[in-house]
């Protein structure tokens, strides 16, 4: 060690290089480190995933972590891939593309809501991991009934997943909500004064949207609206219904 990121990503594959057999046997494994990091991130956010806290959680010294992971950046890639690897991938059976795409969208939404820290990991190297590739393969299969060219198929999947990602991002609770609520009485007055009669459209629509959000309606209108739009868009692409 340190093994390269690729080998760490594929550490469960039979062909993956295993560390030599000399020296004391490891008290924790790379997998342990990744799992502990995910637990930390789930409960306290990605910012709380520090090498020191990780070491403490695993009851090892700080620098020991670097025996199992090359550095924090690489760790984040391992975490993201592990999250993708753990998603369920039920067979689609005889489902049509609409149901399939809906399933894909909902599965990704659920994933991002369970692990909001995935939003904060933006590293292209994740694409090399087994979890990411398995997920990609399974989701492409959802689009097969549409009969698209390979490149178009990839673009369509990107389109769907980008929508889900953005929606999930918006649904994520704002860590500053408390501060916002605290200052709101004062700020709303000032904002009203600044706005005056300007921007009638924004004020009208903004107020309506704000009320709708506060109301007990669907948890997110944007989700229902957007998903319907995405399906509409793909339908315009599909061959005429059989």
């Amino acid at each position: 060690m340190p093994r390269s990121l690729i080998d760490l990503l594929w550490r469960d594959h039979p062909d993956a290089p295993t560390g030599g057999s000399r020296g004391p046997r490891a008290r924790v494994s790379t997998g342990d480190v990744v799992e502990a990091a995910m637990r930390l991130a789930d409960t306290s956010g990605l910012a709380s995933v520090t090498i020191r806290r990780l070491a403490e959680a695993l009851d090892v010294s700080t620098m020991s972590i670097y025996t199992h992971v090359n550095g924090r950046d690489d760790l984040l890639v391992l975490m993201a891939d592990a999250a993708y690897a753990r998603m369920e991938r039920p067979a689609y059976g005889r489902l049509g593309w609409r149901s399939r795409v809906q399933r894909v969208a909902e599965a990704n939404l659920a994933l991002l809501r369970a692990h909001p820290w995935l939003h904060d990991i933006d590293d292209d190297r994740t694409a090399l991991g087994p979890g990411t590739i398995a997920k990609y393969d399974h989701e492409l299969a959802a689009l097969v009934p549409l009969g698209l060219e390979p490149v178009t198929c990839d673009a369509a999947l990107t389109f769907v997943l980008d929508f889900v990602g953005a929606s999930a991002r918006a649904l994520r609770p704002d860590p500053r909500a408390g501060e916002m609520a605290e200052h709101w009485p004062e700020w709303s007055i000032r904002l009203g004064a600044y706005l005056g009669e300007d921007y009638p459209l924004a004020q009208g629509v903004g107020a309506a949207a704000g009320e709708a959000m506060g109301a007990a309606s669907s948890p997110s209108l944007a989700w229902d609206f957007g998903l319907a739009r995405v399906l509409d868009a793909l339908a315009a692409l599909a061959p005429p219904r059989p």
Copy 2:
């Protein structure tokens, strides 16, 4: 000072509280700090916007920055709002909704490509700023010809902008591209070995998509594809053509 974030956001408004008149007059203004921060972020990324570097760029002591801005988090909000405020907002004239939406999408893409650091600022308080509100108002106006309910109108705009945001994100150059290229000869071999015959769909489509990306085709196929899909989706919502 420190004035509250709201007053800092609206610092150019006539009703905004101006600092008292006693004491030496300020060598730099809040606006200067924000502008310097934007310049720094444009050239070296948001991570390089540190209080110390900012102070150095403005030729003031580190702690002086806190006289003009409440802290780094607030500064990021001011930067984002300033970027939105500076966007051009040409009147739509007699344009139909398709052209309008296309303009909005392209303007946002251009903005995000000019200031990629906007992706890294995720703070709801930005919504209180004059630039953000002016932008929202102008973009809502693009959707007026569609004749939607206020809440739907907001959802439709969110749909469009989310698409643009995700596309711009994907277009953003990976800071780790160098490292990736360096290790690629070795990694591609290992990845091939790990993959073997598995995931034929992902391997086929991935290869095609990779080639298309490398080819001299459109800078991004996902953009053209996605924008067409977004317009299709809104069309399904529109009243029958007059």
